[in-house]
Subunit: 142 residues, 2 copies
Amino acid sequence: MSSALASADLIRHAGLRVTDSRRAVVDALGEHPHASADELFRQVSARLPQTSLQSVYNALADFVGAGLARQIEPAGRPRLYELRVSDNHHHLVCSQCGKVEDVDCVVGAAPCLAPSESHGFAVEAAEVTFWGVCPDCAASPL
Amino acid sequence: MSSALASADLIRHAGLRVTDSRRAVVDALGEHPHASADELFRQVSARLPQTSLQSVYNALADFVGAGLARQIEPAGRPRLYELRVSDNHHHLVCSQCGKVEDVDCVVGAAPCLAPSESHGFAVEAAEVTFWGVCPDCAASPL
DNA sequence: CGTTTGTTTTGGATCATTCAAAATAGCGAT
DNA sequence: ATCGCTATTTTGAATGATCCAAAACAAACG
């Protein structure tokens, strides 16, 4: 398997020490993009039972700090993490089940980065969240 | 003063009973758009000391339910409330001090509502948050 | 003015996240 | 291979924002 090596390299190249729990978190994130700390903890626990939730939080914070992961925070939901960091994409969230899909930047280049009035702010980023109902939830009315 | 009357009307027309604390919350929201429950509680307490934080939460939840107020939730910050509900505008948040400004819908009508791929979702809304540094924070480096 | 029903209060619970100190383990140098 | 330095993990507890539920209270209608 090359994925074990790959995750180690990702971590090392980010300037972090390679540990079992960090590898497990990276792997879990690869299999479950848009997962919460808690979901990742459950995934990691399956293979590395001694890992603590706190370690998952630590790893995620380190990854975000090192630019290896990004976090998103849909309103009213726990923070989610993803490995896709190199591009500026947005998210589509199911308002019923919380499922998240990636959405490429909407209108071409960077109109996302141009509010009509900037109130003197030095605008650094624009975050777009689309809310809707996913196919599964549309099919099974509550 | 007409504002006391105005807030009562707003509340009544939303189908809610008019109470001192609700009026106080509406008034505080008028003076402090984009305020958190806690900030509003402090404002309200100044004039109505017996009011509880829970009542402010209750009032805000009722307002949101009745379409009188809207809530926004900038990542990593407590929920904020605003009375401006009739239009679909967005927000510009200072990443340092948290100050929030309104921004009218960016690209004209509703391109905000058109993600490039919708993954089969029935898209209902788009939420845009611009992050930047406000003039005050730019002037006074930490 | 009394009744009904919605609202407020009080006190506590919950969830996600963070803090801090002690124990442990990478990994570069020996 | 081992040492030692320092980063990381663990453990246990704390925090902040929000919500829940039952009892006391009050607005609005007749």
